[in-house]
Symmetry: C2
Subunit: 329 residues, 2 copies
Amino acid sequence: MKKFINNIDSLLEESLQGFAKAHADIVNYNADPHIISRVKPTPSGKVALISGGGSGHEPLHCGFVGTGMLDAACPGQIFTSPTPDQMLTAAQTVESGGGVLFIVKNYAGDVMNFEIAAEMLDCPNATVLVNDDVSLAKDHSTGRRGVAGTLIVEKIVGAAAERGYDLMACQALGERVNQNTASMGVALTSCTVPALGKPTFTLAENEMEMGVGIHGERGRSTLPLTHASEIVEHIADIIQDELKPALGQTALLHINGFGGTPLLELHLIYQLAAQYWEQRGVKLCRSLVGNYTTSLDMAGCSITLSLLDAEMLELWDAPVHTAALRWGC
Amino acid sequence: MKKFINNIDSLLEESLQGFAKAHADIVNYNADPHIISRVKPTPSGKVALISGGGSGHEPLHCGFVGTGMLDAACPGQIFTSPTPDQMLTAAQTVESGGGVLFIVKNYAGDVMNFEIAAEMLDCPNATVLVNDDVSLAKDHSTGRRGVAGTLIVEKIVGAAAERGYDLMACQALGERVNQNTASMGVALTSCTVPALGKPTFTLAENEMEMGVGIHGERGRSTLPLTHASEIVEHIADIIQDELKPALGQTALLHINGFGGTPLLELHLIYQLAAQYWEQRGVKLCRSLVGNYTTSLDMAGCSITLSLLDAEMLELWDAPVHTAALRWGC
């Protein structure tokens, strides 16, 4: 394992300190328990958005804390759920009279710990469960995983909260975005979790893992590595079949790198995926290409299509000021 | 080699098409020769800033085209200099009466081709040569290489041009930023150039390449991989010795990932480097952490310190609207 590390036990702590110092104009850092919260206080009466999950997916979620997106994030250890005391501390830090909306990716540990926090919390709260990964069947025993579509939920609901939507309206909007968002990933290599010190899985030089999760979980099948066009068509067919966009439907196309794949290749994937949907009459009105929901150093990417109505589009365009997404302010 | 590719010969073309489509609100794409230029026309009389270099370093330079930074970029083939016809076409596209400033990283091919273009150009033009890589000695036979500090030159001079600085003032400012900027990198793995199909160099599991260039050129020495703190101190000592910042000096600290290193580790490196200079009385007033000047999929990073006076700081903070850097607008 070749990584920049002093000590596996202090890696997350030192990294969060660095993140908070590099972005001191946007975030505060609470060391015990680990919380990243916005510097600019949550306006009185605004719904406070809190997300979190295992670390190793940076910039998700801490990089999305700031005006117009999350009020706080709870980073767990690498690929490990945060604990309820983190959510409770986060809520105490940012709740400002509008209640708390938890945005939770569908993983058993995250769901359980956010549920415990929700039950203990003495203010109005609600949860949006994100499960945009269509590589698993809809009726899969643990449900579908929450992956790169999560940031779209966080961005759109973040803008709505900033505009004064109440808790129930934010929750309903988050569920609507989630239902209209589908993602699927493919890995060319495994990631290496520092505490494990070796790749999570192995792939031969001519193989790719289709439908991979953001922790390197196996998805649909190990397939022979093929041309980028075929890979994109394989994934896009599954997303298309899931969302069935109407002719003329406006949509956001998000190509997300898992960490180890160069932007050069991600833009190639974007080009191919954009052609796919343009040929099917989808109007790609917004785009996002880059490493946003990563899996440490895994090579690979995911494709996310999110169908946007006029309200969602306006909220996507609304000002956001975070470490990793920034426009309009 | 495991990459998302259809065909090595069409990779750059397809990737540029995707980049331009994903950022159609910011850039135009000219296919022959390859040019990325700003959508919003260069204001009349403004100095037109043009940069370029081999591809494979994305988002450098195409990702920095837009209001407040570059007017155009000339992407060469991967790790290959762009050709004079690209610079000439770029100049014809964006020159608006204020002349052209070329910002060129110090590599023999780039320098030669930009010089040829400068000689052929029939409008006032000047060049800033960036050579911020202090891993090589000042009197090295080919001079020092231009690396991650280039974006700092492009950002600050871009803001100055937008404010109406004339050609000579922009050039002088660019040289001042370059002289006050020092960078040095370390690689944990090689990158793999698609046309080559195998790693450029090999490192043992317990080795790192200290002073590596952004094409994987060997720098100072192959050393045993050690703790992040020792790596940072090694690099920071060389930068400190070069720039000799005064007590209380304001500076920008830029941690640049080479592509294959997770943000989690880059923020750890930031934390250690920030501690180093804070202990030496440097006031780190601005920060930039992420993959900005990459080397395809190479794991590793560089540390850049840029001493900023009040003018440079104000210009760094000025609005910028590009694919990869965006604030204030």
